[in-house]
């Protein structure tokens, strides 16, 4: 095949784009970093959207003292469960935004057509989503935990379990968000798809937080939580990439 010679447009871009290897110029890592950078930039231009899941998380944890009792001793018993249910729902709330705008304005299409492995780009998008929702939730959690009567000594354990757990939640959620692309009013369906798959994370995460509140070692559930996160990192981007491709058909 004769190599196709392209005249360069700008002087510093004297790259030749032959049809054989036109994308040698950008590595996979660089492309993934661009995706991450773009999502973070966009999020900081829309700060209101950024704060919503956090506000939701705080409000939900606030509901429990009002619904159960203001006694910290009673709240402490359910604190781990409350924190995790609130975190699960808050991260679910943010999922709807994960791909919706990108699908709407054609960005997703360009990701698929970029010639880069879509799996890696999906992973970068999920990483951005976690940085914008999971990590802030974990950082907020000590406040919520203290208000539910958790002892200060338990806070590191709670934060660590949430950091690991929300990674898994973001990955699972990315599958649900990709599957429900192109469906109008997909909110309830997204919850129906994502929540059953998230139950193991809830179980191990809540257990780790509970043990932290009781002052017991939390290694066992943390390891299981870590295993889920690793499994999610390896498999979830594959599934969401497949789902995104299908949604564009």
């Amino acid at each position: 095949m004769p190599e196709l010679q392209h005249a360069a447009l700008g002087a510093p871009d004297a790259a030749v784009a032959g049809s054989a290897a036109p994308r040698a110029a950008v590595t996979l890592l660089a492309a993934a970093r661009l995706v991450l950078q773009r999502d973070l930039t966009l999020a900081f231009r829309r700060r209101a959207q950024l704060v919503q899941p956090l506000a939701f998380f705080v409000i939900v944890t606030m509901l429990f003292p009002l619904a159960i009792s203001p006694e910290l001793a009673r709240l402490r018993e359910v604190a781990a469960g409350v924190l995790w249910v609130a975190a699960l729902l808050a991260s679910l709330l943010a999922l709807e935004f994960l791909f919706r705008d990108d699908a709407h304005d054609g960005t997703l299409e360009q990701y698929v057509l970029s010639g880069q492995p879509l799996t890696a780009l999906m992973f970068a998008k999920t990483a951005a989503h976690w940085l914008l929702t999971g990590l802030p939730l974990a950082v907020m959690a000590p406040l919520a935990a203290l208000s539910l009567g958790a002892p200060p000594a338990a806070l590191p354990g709670i934060v660590v379990s949430l950091v690991i757990g929300t990674i898994a939640l973001s990955l699972i959620g990315s599958i649900g968000a990709a599957l429900t692309l192109g469906i109008r009013r997909s909110g309830v369906l997204l919850a129906l798809l994502t929540l059953p798959l998230s139950l193991p994370v809830l179980i191990f995460g809540a257990r780790a937080s509970e043990l932290a509140i009781l002052g017991d070692p939390i290694v066992a559930p943390l390891e299981l939580l870590g295993a889920l996160a690793v499994l999610g990192i390896t498999l979830a981007p594959l599934a969401s990439a497949a789902a995104v491709r299908i949604s564009l058909e």
Partner: protein, 209 residues
């Protein structure tokens, strides 16, 4: 002329109950522009999306350099740029940022190249404004800048001249000419005439189902 580079043989596509593409075949060689014409709903957009591998055809074969595109889909897609009805711009990013992220996924572009591409489409004055504030024609111009920056052999353009003023349409013609001159290929779907010398244009007429 060299051998056909992008070749479609007997493509069939169904959308639900509608038989959209009924055995479409075409061959596109280097330096040629294929004008896909047809009424609204004749399947122009579907053909373009099939040709870039977004829509899998139900039957038929699409080959690139003689090999089925499914063998190396990412490689094929890296060699093309597709611009649909709506230029894929993020409303909250400026024209410049949009270009940087869009083309930056495919190849390294220097700020100078970005600036000169924007200059070329007369976008320098508003290239820092968020895309949300741009008119449809201005957005189209940003997409034209992306075309010239991508440096890929195959362009797939869906209605490239809509929303553009006379000068903008001439620009589309000039860009396509340049692409053809350097041995590239263009597949353009439009129900209007392309602002291009007819010698290098082949026509593919799609009929309504």
């Amino acid at each position: 002329m060299s051998d056909p580079c992008l070749q479609a043989e007997n493509l069939h596509l169904w959308r639900g109950e509608r038989h959209v593409l009924r055995g479409v075949s075409f061959a596109l060689s280097r330096g040629v522009c294929l004008h896909v014409a047809g009424a609204n709903g004749a399947g122009k957009t579907s053909l373009l999306r099939t040709a870039c591998g977004l829509l899998p055809a139900e039957s038929g074969r699409l080959s690139w350099d003689g090999r089925d595109v499914q063998e190396d889909l990412a490689g094929f897609q890296g060699a093309l740029i597709y611009i649909g009805h709506e230029p894929p711009l993020k409303a909250d990013l400026s024209a410049l940022e949009n270009l940087r992220y869009w083309i930056g996924m495919r190849r390294r572009v220097s700020p100078a190249a970005l600036a000169s591409a924007l200059q070329r489409v007369s976008a320098a004055a508003w290239s820092e404004r968020p895309a949300r504030t741009l008119s449809a024609g201005q957005k189209r111009r940003v997409a034209l800048a992306a075309l010239s920056l991508a440096l890929v052999p195959l362009w797939l353009l869906d209605e490239p001249t809509t929303n553009l003023d006379g000068e903008g349409q001439q620009l589309v013609g000039a860009l396509i000419e340049e692409q053809l001159a350097r041995g590239g290929m263009v597949l353009a779907a439009t129900h209007q005439e392309l602002p291009l010398a007819p010698a290098r244009v082949r026509r593919l007429e799609l009929r309504l189902a």
